[in-house]
């Protein structure tokens, strides 16, 4: 697994330069000699490891969305919110565009990404192409930069600091779940999911 046929060519997406693919050493990153963009990197993660990571990410994601993120206190009153509380609040406050943006980039797209990956890797583990492999791989590609959980974690930090001046702030489990999710996303960020095209051959579609 992980070894693609050496004959295949590789084209730099950023400048169109053609390379002959070569096997990479552990941890090695091939960069383009013309423009410096990353061409390909060696993957230390096996399909099994990726599947385990995705399942973990799903569990953490559920928790990040169920649990409150922060609680504020002001003269005996308490107020807390979950991600969906944020989405609904923006909807009520006539900032529907923002509500939709938040729902998409922090809930629906990350959820879709994880479900797609889970599905594709689950079959990939057995060396098979999942039903709908081709359109789902394309969908995964299109989701690209539209998941923003890591930005939200930083946003929560800023919100906490801003609120701290006026309120008693207690971070809730949701924020830790989000932090854990960010960590998992970071591990995943280095994985080029296109390798699935090569790793799971077409025969057993």
């Amino acid at each position: 697994m992980g070894t693609s046929s050496p004959e295949t060519l590789l084209v730099c997406e950023h400048c169109d330069t053609v390379y002959r693919r070569r096997p990479l050493a552990r941890g090695e990153v091939a960069t383009c000699a013309r423009c410096g963009a990353e061409l390909e990197r060696h993957h230390a993660l096996s399909v099994n490891a990726m599947l385990a990571l995705i399942l973990t990410a799903m569990i953490v994601f559920v928790q990040a969305n169920m649990w409150p993120i922060v609680t504020l206190g002001l003269s005996g009153q308490q107020s807390s919110t979950t991600l969906w509380g944020v989405i609904l609040a923006m909807w009520r406050e006539e900032a529907k565009v923002v509500s939709v943006l938040v729902a998409a980039t922090l809930f629906f797209f990350p959820l879709m990404k994880m479900l797609l990956l889970g599905w594709l890797l689950w079959f990939g583990k057995a060396g098979r192409r999942a039903p709908g492999f081709v359109p789902l791989m394309v969908a995964l590609h299109r989701l690209g930069p539209w998941t923003m959980s890591e930005v939200f974690v930083l946003g929560a930090l800023v919100a906490i600091v801003k609120a701290h001046t006026y309120f008693d702030v207690t971070p809730d489990p949701g924020i830790y779940a989000y932090a854990a999710l960010t960590l998992l996303i970071t591990i995943f960020a280095g994985v080029d999911l296109r390798q699935l095209w090569d790793q799971v051959p077409e025969r057993a579609a």
């Binding site: 060519l9 590789l10 084209v11 997406e13 950023h14 400048c15 169109d16 330069t17 053609v18 013309r34 423009c35 410096g36 963009a37 993120i69 922060v70 504020l72 002001l74 003269s75 009153q77 107020s79 807390s80 919110t81 944020v86 989405i87 609904l88 609040a89 923006m90 406050e93 006539e94 900032a95 565009v97 923002v98 509500s99 943006l101 938040v102 980039t105 922090l106 081709v134 359109p135 791989m137 394309v138 590609h141 690209g144 930069p145 539209w146 923003m148 930005v151 939200f152 930083l154 946003g155 929560a156 930090l157 800023v158 919100a159 600091v161 801003k162 609120a163 001046t165 296109r194 095209w197």
Partner: protein, 217 residues
Amino acid sequence: MSALPRAAELGLIACTVCGLVCRNVPGDPQLDGDGVDDAMACPRCGSTLRRRKPHSYTRTWALLIAAFILYIPANVLPIMRTASLNDVDDNTIISGVVELWVKGSPDLAIIVFTASIVVPMLKFLALGTLLVSSQRGSGWARTQRARLYRLVELIGYWSMLDVFVVALLTALVRFSVLSLVEPLPGVIFFGLTVVLTMLASMSFDPRLIWDGKDTDD
């Protein structure tokens, strides 16, 4: 030209979706990127194969200009209202940064300033520069321009930071008469600006940087 052949010179097209390298469709080797006559489906993923992203210059310019127009109300209009018993305060992006700075969090003030002001401005300047220089087929600082584009792509979405801050504070600060936070129209303009700049950088085809006259050093 021999050491680093480009796909177009070899009659190859790489699929931008799945990365498969395909032998070119018979026909014109033009690099115009208008995509009219070089449409063929990728045999592996079915996406349309194109030498360059279609209408890259027009689309990127249009999105960038639209983003810039929305960026003005995003900065001028307040993004958030904080109301307490004795005063009502409308915050703009800049006043939010100043508040963080004054209240003793200069490090976060710098982060928010970077995400909300520096990154969008950098995107306008960077993409504008890339568009103008590539349209002229300029060979000037190609490696640096390529690097600039990758930077823009990498950091672009962090601008959404302030939008999330406003959304979270709106949901959290609801103590009836004592203290309330409401979003104001500026935040909508700002959210749309970020989306449009992201679409703009996605529409730009970095391969165009290298398409001009070959004045390689």
